[in-house]
Symmetry: D3
Subunit: 189 residues, 6 copies
């Protein structure tokens, strides 16, 4: 049986990639034990690959009051609203690991209002959903609501930027038919 395609587009061999991209991919492989397909799919476009991951890292690896697990909650909730299989499965795995909670990813993906998360986290996700679905209606009242849960304006930027960035990723993954690696499905469960 042939292995299912990773992407609708050509996927370069790791050996043929530009040095910086190959280096990053090999580092991920060493750490995770496999290469997530988003790296292989986007490597088809090296310039876009570099910008995508620079943006990703700026948003997701940033220290601050919103924890790394919480950032992944935003990714997972946003990605299910956008029906992006790759992102729900891959970031669901990361969320389980970061939150050390095997149940949380599926809960947050399907309906975060019923998830085992705090009211503050639900308010964070309410805002992320509004950014994804009706950003043109976001206004002062939304930032006030966030403040009532202890989120600063800088936190609001973070939430919005993560939701917006993964809205982009979701669209790219759906158009490229990016396939989640089999490894992600069971990670952290």
């Amino acid at each position: 049986m042939t292995k299912p395609a990773i992407s609708r587009f050509p996927v370069p061999e790791i050996s043929e990639m530009p040095d910086d991209i190959r280096t990053r991919i090999l580092a991920v492989q060493e750490k995770s034990g496999f290469v997530p397909n988003v790296f292989l799919t986007l490597a088809h476009r090296p310039e876009e690959f570099r910008a995508f991951f620079a943006y990703h890292d700026a948003l997701m690896d940033k220290p601050g009051p919103i924890s790394k697990a919480e950032r992944e909650m935003i990714v997972v909730a946003t990605s299910n609203i956008n029906q992006c299989q790759y992102c729900v499965v891959a970031h669901g795995a990361i969320l389980r690991i970061r939150a050390k909670n095997p149940l949380i990813a599926d809960q947050v993906a399907v309906n975060y209002r019923k998830a085992d998360i705090t009211d503050r986290q639900k308010a964070m996700l309410d805002f992320a959903m509004k950014v994804s679905l009706r950003a043109h209606e976001v206004g002062d009242a939304d930032l006030e609501t966030l403040k009532g849960h202890g989120f600063t304006d800088e936190d609001a930027w973070d939430i919005a930027a993560i939701s917006a960035f993964f809205g982009m990723s979701n669209r790219l993954a759906n158009v490229t038919s990016m396939r989640p690696n089999d490894e992600f499905f069971a990670m952290g469960r």
Copy 2:
């Protein structure tokens, strides 16, 4: 720590349930090793419990050309569109087991168009989605499309009835805040 609530509504003790309901629940418990919370939640209303499971069994245990795994695909895709955490998690587990495929439930839940399923199964889910989202527009052309994939009119009824029945279940589970049992999350992975 207190255990999280199973339902927004009172949940009867198994010992206090009517005989037929207790018997069914104990049989499920013996087979599965635990009692799925849908049984406990709906037991609050014995008449509705009986009708619900009679309907469920008529649709889901029926022999025919649509396999049991395929029936669960309809449930899982419908339930994620309706953002029903209980149904995606519980029936995702059943789908994994029936299809003997640890990846399929998450694939079908998030975007069945990208799942490792046949074109016939995608056509089945396209129809189920139309029934869930725009049943008033269903017409002869939809049944013709199904026929092109080998589905008879009786199969169309099955698909539609499963999608419609779980559309009801999804709404009930969301209103009752029915909690998926922890056991479901890892089953069949």
Copy 3:
């Protein structure tokens, strides 16, 4: 001229139906003077017929603070949102009779916010519409709003279950092209 079809699917002769189904249908015929087509359409599937009407009766014939006419209001408003001709016409007739009001069914079907009903009834229908259209967003605040109008949690279950059950019926009626009997159109006017 041939009579228009009752259903897209085969309709059994009453004489060929299982005893319990024939008995129920003959009882309805005796009481109403005709057999509503939902009975004939669903008799094509005896198991589903039994479960459907058991569920229907559990929800619609139940005593309680929500009157039978009010239950029919939920059916009529839900069914028009779902563009289900059979259910609006048939339950519109029943609503007119139960409410002894020839105007109320059309008012509630098209826009219950403008109907000659109480604020309590409008709140009941607001909740039923939320269950039909956005059940995943139903939360504590909705039940509090209902309480402000005198509805208990048990009443909320009733409203939600009726809206959800008829959401299922609406989808089945649209897929089967179930035809409302001519008799319903003028009943109770």
Copy 4:
């Protein structure tokens, strides 16, 4: 008991209306036996009254291949999509009378795809619905489809203009809380 209000806005006495408006209203009263509330509601704004009915008459009384009953079908289907109680009830009555068919108005209002109408009439209503819901997407292909059912470009203008005009009426009736006269509910049944 006080009579329910006709409109959220002041309604002038017929005796105090400008001559041309009073004359028109008295003529309608003589013909119909009552004054439809749309005349009384809009008489609050004489200039708008005159323009509204001039437009109405230009569209609805025009001779041509689309019959008067068919024009009312467009009104009824459009008005239910827009949840306008006044227009569904009042024009439902007119449709029953013009089509000499007591069933047709309720059929067309709730789901014209299931109504006892011709394929040509369904194509007409498909186009009217597209004009109401997604006019920005109307293009050459839609007019070609209409031509396949014998409708000329001039007919397409008629259908679109009726759907657009009643889209306006529906919004006005909903904002003014215009009440359908009791007489309309049973007319033509």
Copy 5:
């Protein structure tokens, strides 16, 4: 190069139009320096032309607390929601001129919540948007909100009627493929 078509439908020569229509068109031409294509497009249907402009004038030339520039804001915001190129471009020009502000039309068209307008004007446009998108949900609370910004019930009628009338115009312009005159694009900038 041939000039692009003004309308999908036949456009009469000015010399062949009925006197009253030709007179109005020549007056507009004298004042504006060109004939806006809405006049030429609608002149194909003289009766509808007369009613359309009578209605337009009744709503747009009426004195009152809502200024002429504010009325154009309603037109521009409504027309962009309805994706009507003619109305956004033509009334954008008029708005710039009436408001003596070269930026305001583009701001209001794309997202009035971010425009350089007062809170009162934003409330006016919130209401106009609700009339365009969900008039069936308009109720007392909306008029109370308007009152909090100094708008009377009569003002609410004006706002609603302008939004509803241009909702009709938008649909007509999209169906007729009415082309905005080149002159409008730069006027008032």
Copy 6:
């Protein structure tokens, strides 16, 4: 009078920015005569600024069969669907300049189906809209349609990536309340 705010968030002084960002901004200022506010708004977050513009340049400055003007068409159409004032106004200006056509930006923004563009360009924008609104439904048939207009798979990636990237930008601009510079409104007209 105080100048209106550029952003809801703090905007750094150019003199205080990191060297690379200051250098880029000064280069833009020299070329354009002013600093577009997107640079100042995003400079609040230098890491995100760098990634954003690297991504932007990779997509928008790339040579290939889709011209720079056509890329701006995608931006403008996407941004109006997302109701992003900054992006419609700023990229509308760039589109006018790149296409050397003072009318095209407003035409494409409001309804590209009626714009003075080729059928190939309309197909490109149809696909961009599907990516923005329903990327989860994108499939082989969409790429086939594009091929019928001469677009390769690589072109499809470009269109999708531009639509997805600006979907992100639109959300960021709406959340930050990014203000389009006054200069953009009249550029290229």
